[in-house]
């Protein structure tokens, strides 16, 4: 940890201007549950920290229209327990409620959540030259490959990095084709949440597609993409306060007893929030049976590649998808 300058803007525009002036050493801070953690681990060393929590307009939760709109600073706990979200959009509420702990959810923002960084232990613990990590020190190598890789990804990995994208909320958002609104030095823009994430490839240090100094102002969800026949199913090493070993966000639209459209995304197993189109295609037009659910789960992992200790994730992940599909289907009125 080192000394840094703290700025507390009142508007989004002020915040973005401060970021432009601060340059590469500048960081926004919302709940601080990722940023402070990484500062204490000596991984993030910002020279300037912009506390955006005083920007009132970014805290709003709007659920009246055809599009749900969550201000980037809305706390995870507030969105998870919002009356409309928890009643009509279980996939969203569950993804938030099953993340972290109540204390963390009270602090953490739904915007900051999208930018949390991997829990790969070699990334987090290695500062000071203990473990090499291409994400932390580009070009230094990857200690996880050939190391203790039980929690590493099996989808979207590269020779340079197998770190899991840890968030639950982003997985649900990718499943429902959510979008984000941004404000940057060049003004506002929007894009799908899906477009926010990069694959590690040769450059695992670049995780997001945000332009320098760009701020997330809101998250938007097309209401009908996240209906009641949905769930976020999360399997972890304990029943709360743990990241996913495997998770699945599932939303079903039924026509009669057949699936008109299935939305499936995976967490805990991939280097970014992972949509599973092969599973979705297999389900479309079919009647859901336990066998089909499991087959769809396996389809989602067709391209997976295991390391030394994480091969179980292929089977666990497939079965998690299967259980999620069954849970979602059982929510039929």
């Amino acid at each position: 940890m080192q000394s840094f300058r703290l700025i507390r803007p009142r508007t989004a525009q002020e915040a973005v201007s401060a970021a432009a002036q601060g340059g590469a050493a500048s960081r926004f801070i919302a709940g601080g549950t990722t940023l402070y953690d990484l500062m204490k681990l000596n991984i993030e060393r910002p020279g300037q920290v912009i506390d955006i929590t005083g920007i009132g307009e970014l805290h709003r939760i709007e659920t009246a229209g055809e599009e749900l709109r969550f201000g980037a600073l809305a706390p995870m706990s507030a969105v998870a327990t919002d009356a409309v979200v928890s009643r009509d959009h279980p996939v969203l509420a569950e993804a938030l409620a099953k993340a972290a702990s109540q204390q963390l959810r009270n602090m953490a923002s739904v915007g900051g959540n999208l930018l949390q960084r991997t829990r790969c232990p070699y990334f987090r613990n290695g500062a000071g030259g203990v473990y090499p990590c291409n994400k932390r020190e580009p070009g230094s190598g990857c200690a996880a490959i050939g190391g203790l890789d039980r929690s590493q990804a099996v989808l979207g990995t590269s020779e340079a990095c197998t770190a899991v994208s840890p968030g639950d909320w982003p997985v649900a958002l990718v499943a429902v084709d959510a979008g984000i609104e941004l404000l940057g030095p060049n003004g506002p823009r929007s894009m799908p949440v899906d477009a926010l994430y990069r694959l590690p490839g040769e450059t695992p240090q670049h995780e997001f597609t945000l332009a320098p100094g760009e701020m997330i102002t809101a998250i938007t969800v097309p209401r009908r993409n996240a209906g009641r026949l949905s769930t976020y199913h999360k399997i972890r090493d304990r029943e709360s306060y743990a990241f996913a070993l495997a998770s699945a966000a599932v939303v079903l639209e039924l026509e009669g007893d057949r699936i008109a459209q299935a939305r499936v995304a995976l967490g805990g197993v991939a280097t970014r929030p992972w949509r599973a189109p092969a599973a979705e295609q297999m389900l479309a037009g079919q009647r859901l049976t336990p066998e089909l659910a499991l087959a769809a789960g396996h389809a989602a992992f067709r391209d997976a590649r295991a390391g030394h200790h994480n091969a179980f994730k292929l089977e666990l992940g497939a079965r998690t998808v299967a259980d999620a599909l069954i849970i979602a289907a059982e929510r039929r009125p």
């Binding site: 080192q2 613990n125 000071g128 039980r150 304990r238 666990l316 259980d323």
Partner: protein
């Protein structure tokens, strides 16, 4: 005459704790306090070639950096709880070893300073795990009785299997914190500890000062579990910093560092051959255990047998043990250090035997009961393990169990398993001294050896004090963990209560006698306080002491000098152990194979229960930890780098509330007739012994899968 049953009473410090008013060591405030932070070694073995401190010293607020030059060279001695630790040294023996100590005006400056120190290290080859090349296997003395080889040769059924218990860390919520004040020629240390007396002596030894000028206070400890029973490396460093700067200095070690500094439960591997005759009597055991140890670790390997060999009436027992030396910090005691892993292995083997014999696992255990310590041939002072099994089976509904593995399931396909296992723990005693002061103003003060780390020793002392004396509890002060109030022992091994509570009875008797002498035949009505007031004395104080059966005053002397003087469980005329039986239900999900534990019934024989509420809380805590041991906790080491990888509370997964459901606790509550005047035995550690075996046995019953390596995770059951 053993005491009659005790009534329920609230925890004496509960209100203070929930209000945040209880003061822990790190809460102590001193004017002019400086903050310290260590520079941990990034490598597991080597030598510091150079410490570059210029950049760190330029950081505003950094006042001093301690290096090996600030300490007289010390010899590394075998690492045991009371051993003095070295100061700062250039040789690196384990990852995380402190290489320098930064002292600064603020915590932030100390942290920034620590990160700014550049260390040049000449690395050396190391062995990080028991399977690493260079990890040296070193046999320990055997612990054997009878002729196991002959007994096994005659056995009609033999179970042979290997079990593994992983490396684990204690992780009490209170971090390791030391505050040292050097003033008026005395050194005062506040630290969350189970061993204030040893700190006094060991720190003095490391720093070359007289222990008589060192005072240590550890009034309230935020969890310890054995981690805080060992003298910490940091204590002498902080004390030295206070002496060099002339200002109070505080260090709260970050959790990631504590994983590498404090002791841990070492990985252990257990190979068991257990034989029974045609009637189902267990006749012989050959039990070999290997445990991880550090190069200079003194944590003995053969004590795994002390409990296992006394669990049943088995006459022929061969107990073999070895250390595997690796380059880590010293492993040490973690709640039920030996009995817990040993009973996981042994009680798993007994369960395997029950299936081989086609016997009910409860009935098989009850048929192998004993009244004799087979190791010494002496009688057991009391043993109500069969009562524990009987009561537990009834409460749990064991008779409704279908014995066939994988035979019980819920409608959704969830597999249900019921498992049982027993545990035991030695009942030990440490010599101790206590003073009771009764004052004319109505106040009462009792000071004794002991530490309050949440187990409830103050509450138990209050239970006996208020029964023996008419006192105003609001004016009762109980001083523990304070070397200025009474000589302090290592409070561990569940000997705290047996070593302190009978002293209350003794002190009150002595006090009554002293008051009677003072009154000299006059009859004065009222409480002792009122009697003392009437004769115009401000207070009366008595001192009493106690040693264990078979000990003499030399043990007391050793204790007063800060030494370790525990005795038991084999006393001259009898052996004393505590016992427990656990009944566990698990449910295993059909597809994703998560294991849940919806209910546990645990019945303990700990002699007379003095404080029912804190006693039940001890058992519940032990059961939670047992579940955590069975299904959750393991510290991971990458052999290429050494150290511990998952070194925080997010990645080292301990059981949470959501992992625990119904825990039904019961006590036999039969006083031990021989061990002490109250009839109490030991409880804290026995609580968790056997839980992990009961879980693993239940998983076998649910699924037909015998898992012999902990923790059991979804990976193992898919």
């Amino acid at each position: 005459m053993p005491a009659p049953p005790f009534a329920d009473r609230p925890r004496i410090d509960a209100l203070d704790k929930v209000r945040g008013a209880a003061a822990y060591a790190a809460d102590m405030r001193f004017p002019g306090l400086l903050h310290a932070m260590t520079v941990p070694s990034p490598v597991a073995r080597g030598r510091v070639a150079a410490l570059e401190t210029e950049a760190a010293l330029r950081i505003p607020g950094v006042t001093r950096i301690l290096t090996p030059a600030d300490f007289a060279p010390t010899q590394r001695v075998a690492d045991l709880p009371n051993s003095p630790r070295p100061g700062l040294v250039p040789e690196i023996a384990f990852r995380g070893e402190p290489l320098a100590l930064i002292v600064a005006e603020t915590l932030e400056a100390a942290i920034e300073g620590a990160e700014a120190v550049r260390v040049r290290i000449e690395g050396a080859p190391f062995s990080a795990t028991v399977d690493s090349p260079g990890a040296a296997r070193e046999p320990a003395p055997d612990v054997s009785t009878g002729d196991a080889a002959r007994a096994l040769a005659g056995a009609s059924t033999i179970v042979e299997a290997s079990y593994e218990s992983p490396t684990q860390h204690h992780n009490p919520i209170e971090l390791l914190s030391t505050t040292a004040v050097w003033a008026d020629g005395r050194l005062l240390i506040h630290e969350g500890s189970q061993n204030a007396g040893a700190i006094k002596v060991a720190v003095a030894r490391t720093l070359g000062i007289d222990p008589a000028i060192v005072d240590v206070k550890s009034a309230t400890v935020g969890g310890a579990f054995g981690q805080k029973g060992w003298v910490q490396r940091q204590t002498a460093l902080v004390a030295r910093a206070a002496m060099l700067t002339g200002r109070p200095v505080k260090l709260v070690a970050p959790r990631g560092q504590i994983f590498h500094l404090a002791t841990f439960r070492p990985l252990s591997r257990h190979r068991i051959r257990l034989g029974a005759d045609a009637t189902g009597r267990m006749v012989g055991v050959h039990y070999e255990v290997d445990q991880q140890n550090s190069r200079s670790g003194g944590f003995p390997a053969n004590q795994y047998h002390d409990g296992a060999m006394r669990l049943y009436g088995i006459a022929d027992y061969a107990g073999i043990a070895a250390n595997i030396r690796t380059d880590t910090q010293a492993p040490g005691h973690m709640r039920a250090p030996y009995e817990h892993p040993a009973c996981f292995a042994f009680e798993s083997a007994v369960d395997e035997l029950s299936y081989r014999l086609g016997r009910d696992p409860v009935a098989l255990r009850m048929a192998n009961d004993t009244r004799t310590d087979m190791h010494t041939g002496k009688p057991l002072s009391s043993r109500f393990l069969n009562e524990c099994l009987q009561i537990g089976a009834e409460r749990f509904g064991w008779s409704r169990r279908n014995p066939a593995p994988a035979s019980m399931a819920a409608p959704d396909g969830t597999q249900i398993g019921w498992g049982v296992a027993c545990g035991l723990y030695p009942t030990l005693i440490h010599p101790a001294v206590a003073t009771l002061r009764i004052a004319a103003d109505g106040s009462t003060r009792f000071a004794v050896a002991g530490h309050e780390f949440g187990q409830g020793i103050r509450t138990a002392l209050a239970a006996v004090l208020t029964r023996e004396l008419q006192i105003d509890e609001r004016r009762l002060q109980i001083l523990v963990g304070d070397t200025t109030a009474a000589p302090q022992h290592l409070t561990a091994g569940s000997w705290g209560s047996a070593s302190a509570l009978p002293l209350v009875v003794q002190a009150v008797a002595r006090m009554r006698q002293a008051v009677a002498e003072l009154l000299d035949g006059r009859r004065i009505a009222g409480t002792l306080h009122q009697q003392i007031a009437t004769v115009r004395r401000p207070f009366l104080e008595v001192e009493v002491s106690q040693v264990g059966p078979g000990q003499d005053s030399a043990a007391l002397q050793r204790m007063r000098a800060g030494g370790y003087a525990v005795t038991g469980p084999a006393y001259p005329d009898f052996t004393t152990m505590s016992y427990i039986a656990h009944f566990v239900e698990v449910r295993v999900e059909p597809r994703t194979r998560r294991v849940r534990v919806p209910r546990v019934v645990s019945i303990a024989d700990c002699g007379r229960v003095v404080s029912p509420r804190t006693a039940a809380s001890q058992v519940r805590g032990g059961v939670v930890w047992g579940i955590s041991h069975a299904l959750r906790e393991a510290t991971e080491t990458d052999p290429r780098y050494g150290g511990f990888l998952n070194n925080d509370l997010a990645e080292y997964v301990v059981a949470t509330n959501a992992d625990v459901d119904e825990i039904d606790v019961g006590f036999v509550d039969e006083p031990d007739p021989l061990f002490n005047s109250i009839g109490l035995k030991s409880l804290g550690e026995v609580s968790m012994v056997g839980v992990s075996a009961a879980v693993a046995n239940a998983v076998f019953h649910a699924t037909g899968r015998r898992l012999r390596k902990l923790p059991i995770r979804v990976d193992d059951l898919l």
